[in-house]
Symmetry: D2
Subunit: 466 residues, 4 copies
């Protein structure tokens, strides 16, 4: 009898229909929570023993039974049964079949509602730790690249127009700065799953003196949740992760956009390695930056996953509703995507060749030192707005007369303002422009070195807090 | 040698790295396009034969080789190779291995860029046809329910407050009307993939006199695409489907919300069957409307999938970019979700019990015939705004004096307006209120019957046009 | 007395609080519907006259009163009152104040629920017509640019890597093809508001024999809505417009991305005019493509508006809920954005200068004719996959030996395959490559000319159908 | 001459076109930043004075000029000029016109890129502080309601089905718990704008020894930004706020859904006050929970705003791009919406009447104490899964025999299990059920009181840290 399998079937007279089983089943994706589920069950069993609900023998048989199941799952020999709906029921049913009575007691003082809340929090804590490590490594890689290439001067862009000369290191460190913020968001997300949910029962708490502090310690939480109804209806901690992943994806999309741009024949600032490019089925010459494109494209699914959960949660009343089951697939997909994207970017950055000559030659374009010249006049006492206008006229002159701005003579400059002296000429040189920046956080070498130290020490301070 | 497998590897010196393979691979999800891919390849081969590029023997061996592969895939015995990236390369590599030379010729005048554009269009045309059938069946089910329950009067709600008595049929037909519009959107989406893309090559067209009209006829398209570069960069037809699915999901979320509401102890308007409800792991008495909740929750992923693709496409230059590979998973997920949701709703509606007594008794609440009384006065010559105010005072009187509005005496009514005569009393009766509606499209029985005829004839006219 | 103003205040004992007024008020944005509201009211009044509810004199005074109000609104002299909540109540209250009794009768057989449904549909029909015209003009501009520049050869890109030479016209016509599809989506959206809603009342229809067919004709609709409850709860027609706008925005973001790219010092394919570029507050030399950037950025709000409405509609039960008021601001914003974006792009395209020399010289890059050479071998009998490998080796040879692919001698080619004869050399020439494309829809001149004819005739067929 | 007004117009030969002005203009919405802009300019001027770039007199005239402008803006007498694009240029141009030379010097060592970054951060810091206060007040209101109604027992729901009796306070405190998390997210968002951006210049830092630490202290920041290019391209801090607002909106949508549900004739758990309900234009009896509906509906725009910015930022290269201007409208809209929603909810909650009789009577439904009975058996030694099945049979028995579960006799219970003794009967009573919960965080009175203390102390610790 099919329906006998359901652990909740006591009062039902008709079996669930095929579509109900299909639409309800989550085992094909929540099976990945087996480790957390078993860890949670063992802690719960220990607590039940402590509360006198399980005997020492029963506890032992539960622990060894669960251990055996875990081994089988990891070996691929465990047989999941879709009609048992989810990972919790699959494990519990199998345990009971094997160890009998004791298995039937395991669900005492526990509901699937608080059980799944626990599994998800444990899962996210585990994943966050690993992602944190990978992100820190990636940040360090960026820092290393910046450190190794301090002398490369390249065009800095605003509006994709060459604006001012900058150091390549400053540009690459932008991405390190973004990752530092991402690490903070990850930490916030991780703190959001820092409270232990078990003991909330279905919604109201349980009719047993469960030792939730014991469970919390046993499972490595720093606190317990404080409202049973909130505990089973809250998915904020998943949202926080999906949001972290979305912003990370946005940052990555900007980085990838630039890697793609820089790999074009027109820019040629870098050459991505064969390892991360692919060819064309039809054009034998192509070296396509597929990894960068795919990571850029995956931003879509990261945003989509966030929106998916936000939409699902909109307007549903308290407490647990089955809609909440829809939280897992977007979460798992974002976790997998984030891991792949980090790895892909790491691989691209660590194997790319930087074309410093091309970067440097590009700086001699689009009047990149115009603002240096303007500031020269300011320092001679010309109000900035006037100085801005004077340089504007010089630019216009160059365009009309096809003159090379970077090679203008002092005589010509003097035609535009009497405040120009011989030392103005050196302001035209884009290669020395970054060193003219005097403000902290600027693109001068000393400031970049300070910045690198700052990032490194921030990374040192960033440890997993969950 | 790993990289030898790549059909594009000619000029590459280093193998692609593990993460590149992992992030690039699509075979785990695009394998489901095997049927369309083979259908497209057979048509392409026929065209190549017609163009003199393949001999009759070669064509024959390609067709039989592909047929064999299809059988193996369907039997589950075909071995997919993830390092061959996608379904196209898996099939082509296997074919070449088996039939040699002729297999190597199959990719003549074709690129993966137009090949995937073809496969996706064929896939969507196939799926749209089936979804159209299911949706029409669901619409018909709603119509039948409406037809079978014409005499049930229930409260009509605005702002979730009882507003006026309506027929249950009118309420249920709202969902049929929504589905009619969804069918139109599905048809539009389906028309959007009505042009045959093959022959666009990688982006510029091909160096062969391919007979694209032949391909179009062979594959059941009504037109060919008109710009090769557009052909390989366009994914509008997928967006159109994802949008259709999002609006359908929104409609379903409203219907499910009501099924859930109506199943509460407070409303009790319906009882969902055991087949579509599930129990609780801890509370033995629960009968939860899980299917309705899950369908409501799945709205999130339908929106998420649409957003995912919109985001991916934002700001990418022409023509094909690898980001586009990210189009398939959201599409497949929305197709699967739509099919499951239709089936789930069909099952719920076809097995639910309608509690007509509860509906009827609920109509005697919240002054549901107030507007009937107001209109009575209007017909006696009172301007509507004045009449509205008079009835407002009667309502206030009932609330203050705890009087039953539906049993007010004519004497009391006359205290509020001299225009009330004895025939005003019958306007208080909510059971006859729907029949008082005289406008077309209203909730009177004759209008509902007309509406049902209209829906049926619309469904008859709605045939697949792709 | 503040609350006396409310036209629905009859039974209320306490005034609404400040925040309620603030959060409920829509007059600051729905005032723009005044024209549609007045048009609808005049039609409704004519119908009431026809039904004997209004006298000829009353009708006349209503029409002239409303006409007067319209004039005042257009002259800016009408005083809107936020406590009257919305445009409907503002107009009705003013009318009643001025013409008395007849004004109070105007709301007979009408509810705000069907009134707003009418206003929104009329508004969208009006706007769609104008947007259709602007979009057709823009499509024609693209066609004209393509026609005027048929001889420009430029690099065609996949993965942002130079792939094959194409005609600039083919590239620019991609955007015309997109707009043709956008026009279809706009037409679908416009058809979606083709049914006349008035007469649905609050939800159930009205207690009067209203002549809805008369109203439909009077207001230029092609049909009436068929279910009163659906009529007041349906906002699909707004979604359809927001979806059209989102896809249009996506297309524009791709076009703008390219205009921005092409304006860089690195590409220099075009020069945007001073009219659509702006300067920097600090860098005197900058010419920034702000209009292109802003249009690209506005894609965000177009997506956001679609999502906003989809979210709002998720899970709300029938029929009208006040949440629906949130439909207007995203709609108005998307209408305004679409109009501005079209105008901005029109201005950029019509004033840009095309740098054909730079485009042409860029074609001599990245082995752009590799596929032509591969196909040469195929035509000599080499299977495509072998030919692909041979050309791959030639590319590798050039890279290693720093040889210019486009100037390879026949002797060197022969080293790679015995199938090369003297006529192979001409296949290396990128300028003649587009003409080698023989497939329909390709980048050859004759095919482009055919395409242009096809687009023009499509535009001719595209007339407003609402 | 129109274009003379542009402060960047030096090298331009053609005036910007009308659409460029229209699409570029932001003054109609960024005018609201005037306070922050002036505050920032005064700090900048002080720094320039410190650096010897401005004289004491110049500083004084700038400060008094700006003070005058601020007064005029606040008085509504300042004339904004759309052709001056934004708030920065409007203020600077006016200042220069009034005080001459010194005004022209104010933009020294500053770009609009770092200026707007500053203004936005100051704005968000200001708003966050006020929103934090309002949110804390709302949380306290919830706590007070919980405290004042500790003795109300109501049905607790899962799947919208009555599950177990809970205290009303526990239910209402869920929303307090959510707000505590929202306060954390707000604080994180606020910390994200804690670094002072001025001095980044256009992108590379400035050619002056600006004292950024001085500026940071002067403007109340805790740190300075560390990478000039990051500083002008980063909008994470806005995303963080929009995300906070989205989750808050999601929480509010759930609360409002319940207020709407509880206000129905079917539930009648509460009565919202006249102050926050509105009537119908046509149905005189209606009392609609418009405020709750509007807040629920506004979730859409909050999600839309988040998505809008995420979309805009996707894939744009470094550093500043004009797309970024699109950050302001969604931000302002979310700020306004959050403020209105908080106020609306505060008003609803503080004026609602709780119908404790109706809540209590509803608890005697749907076998709400089934789990209490099951746990009774467990404590007698029956394994939980068996006990679950026994109670399932009792439920089935009641349904078949139309027996009142809450009044079952001990004899009948004994028919189902020999473990039932006389003391089982009291477990049937739903009113005492909440007190049976022994776990911490449960719905028993003592646990709720602990929870209230915990929330209060959390609120006390929550101070603005920016």
């Amino acid at each position: 009898m099919k329906q006998n399998k359901k652990l909740w079937g006591g009062r039902f007279t008709e079996p669930t229909s095929g579509i109900t089983e299909k639409i309800s089943a989550s085992i094909h994706y929540d099976a990945r929570l087996y480790g957390q589920d078993i860890r949670g069950s063992i802690a719960h069993a220990k607590m039940l023993k402590k509360a006198g609900i399980l005997s020492a023998t029963e506890l032992e048989s539960i622990i060894s039974g669960l251990g055996q199941i875990q081994k089988e799952i990891e070996a691929g020999s465990f047989r999941f049964d879709a009609s048992l709906e989810d990972i919790h029921m699959n494990i519990e049913a199998c345990l009971t079949e094997r160890i009998g009575e004791a298995g039937k007691k395991l669900h005492t003082a526990r509901s699937r509602n608080d059980q799944i809340a626990l599994d998800l929090r444990l899962y996210l804590k585990d994943e966050s730790k690993e992602i944190q490590i990978k992100l820190k490594e990636l940040t360090l890689l960026l820092v290393n690249i910046a450190e190794d290439n301090l002398d490369i001067v390249m065009p800095g862009y605003t509006h994709m127009q060459i604006a001012q000369p900058v150091r390549f290191s400053q540009h690459i460190l932008v991405y390190a700065q973004q990752l530092l913020r991402d690490l903070t968001r990850l930490e916030n997300a991780s703190l959001a799953c820092g409270s232990m949910p078990l003991g909330a029962g279905a919604l109201a708490g349980v009719n047993y003196l469960t030792d939730r502090e014991f469970l919390s310690n046993e499972l490595g939480f720093s606190d317990i949740t404080h409202n049973s109804m909130d505990t089973v209806s809250d998915r904020d901690f998943i949202l926080d992760f999906l949001y972290f992943a979305s912003v990370l994806g946005m940052h990555f999309s900007r980085l990838c956009e630039e890697l793609i741009l820089w790999s074009t024949s027109e820019f040629e600032f870098i050459r991505l390695s064969d390892k991360v490019t692919t060819g064309s089925s039809i054009m034998p010459q192509k070296r396509n930056p597929d990894v960068a494109e795919l990571v850029r494209g995956k931003t879509g699914r990261l945003y989509g996953n966030l929106l998916s959960l936000l939409t699902m949660l909109k307007g549903i009343p308290l407490t647990y509703n089955r809609d909440l089951q829809e939280d897992k697939e977007p979460l798992f997909d974002s976790v997998d995507t984030v891991r792949m994207a980090i790895e892909g970017i790491h691989e691209m950055l660590s194997s790319m060749k930087i074309n410093k000559e091309k970067m440097l030659s590009s700086v001699f374009r689009n009047f990149s030192t115009a603002v240096d010249l303007a500031d020269y006049l300011v320092k001679k006492g010309v109000p900035f707005r006037e100085s801005h206008e004077i340089i504007g006229s010089i630019v216009q002159y160059c365009e009309k007369n096809n003159a090379d701005f970077f090679k203008l003579s002092i005589d010509i400059l003097k035609d535009f303002s009497k405040h120009f002296s011989d030392d103005a000429i050196e302001k035209l040189d884009p290669t020395s422009s970054p060193e003219r920046k005097e403000s902290s956080g600027s693109t001068s070498k000393s400031e970049i070195i300070k910045q690198i130290e700052h990032i490194k020490s921030s990374l040192d301070k960033c440890h997993s807090k969950n």
